[in-house]
Symmetry: C2
Subunit: 224 residues, 2 copies
């Protein structure tokens, strides 16, 4: 297994950065791009913290993790820091990925990825519904799922994105693994069994909705 985990079970990136740290770096990068557009030259950790919903201490720790120190009197240089984070996160060419499932979630992902992500490109999409695969979507060629293993293997794709119903998720995942996929982003409503060498991440919209319901109820019923 080529990725390690810390005591919380989080995947560790280079330099011991955890998954949550990488997520935050991506969010910092977006904020910095936004600030740069507005012509802002420098920013303090407490200003960033207010904007991205975390603490100044957390931000300083994350940025120290990629070798960036702010200066107490001037803060961080916006453009310099954005470039450093981008260099850390991105490679020279985007990672090619296969998307399986062209329902609402799948189409939303294609729309999102089309041209906007420097680090990921969906190069092939699959569904079993002939209507959905009758023409390219946002420039991405769409195939019948029966051709999935062949297309993935022929193009050497090692990253897969699952947006199929939960009931189909494990079978599709198994087929992807057999075709050489080693990294899986799962939007299906199902926990998957995966081989040890596979990196799997899970975006669970149902959990997000339930968590929101919990905090919304507390916030509505709590005294002002």
């Amino acid at each position: 297994m080529s990725l390690t985990r810390n005591h919380k079970g989080h995947i560790l990136a280079g330099g011991g950065l955890s998954e949550p740290s990488v997520s935050r770096l991506i969010i910092y990068k977006r904020l910095l791009l936004e600030l740069a557009k507005k012509g802002t030259h420098s920013v303090f950790s407490h200003q960033m913290a207010r904007r991205v919903n975390t603490s100044p201490e957390q931000i300083r720790r994350d940025l120290m993790g990629i070798g960036s120190d702010g200066r107490p009197t001037r803060g961080y240089q916006v453009l310099e820091l954005e470039k450093r984070i981008s260099t850390f996160l991105e490679s020279a060419r985007p990672e090619p990925a296969a998307l399986v499932g062209l329902g609402n979630v799948g189409r939303a992902l294609l729309a999102y990825a089309a041209g906007r992500l420097p680090s990921l490109r969906i190069t092939a999409a699959f569904d079993i519904n002939p209507v959905r695969i009758s023409h390219p979507i946002y420039g991405c060629p769409c195939h019948h799922a029966r051709d999935m293993a062949r297309v993935v293997r022929e193009n050497g794709i090692t990253a897969g994105i699952l947006a199929v119903p939960g009931s189909a998720a494990q079978a599709v995942a198994n087929e992807l693994f057999a075709a050489g996929v080693r990294n899986l982003l799962n939007f299906a409503d199902a926990r998957l069994q995966v081989p040890a060498e596979v990196f799997v991440d899970h975006v669970d919209i149902g959990v997000s909705l339930e968590k929101f319901a919990y905090f919304a109820r507390r916030n509505s019923s709590a005294p002002e």
Copy 2:
């Protein structure tokens, strides 16, 4: 402000549980339901940890947070623990919510929430596209966005879900706040400025894709 934050900036729930703890409790609940369906009576924290991608210590800490201790020789009782988590998370009736934006993401959320979530019900949906609002979707009445403030106010809805383009997100959010919304789940690709009393959570699909690309690249290029 009726919700407090810990040193990491995480919202704290009752008993000092953080947002990540609540997310994990939701995932434990799903696993326990699955185990119960298979007729499993008891489970150890290390068995749960393997299935939900965290550490046994984290699980024991989370469950202690809601007053559940496992027994070293028998583990946790599946049904009893599921019930305790549900009681902690859910109220007698689902939280009503307004959904704004009926593009791919919005429709996926409606499909997801329809009947499946005990804690949340989308009771009104809004869009500016007449085609999208011409009939109820999954039983949810759909209105033109120009009627949003009125419908939200008349129904006393305090929870809003944003699935509009990033460029429209802040303006829609402001209108929702003015109409009485105090809790916002944001799927739009934009960071929002919100009043201090508002609870806001953000599901950023772009960040998920970028994070996945980062770890996929590392896993593919690392030596086996």
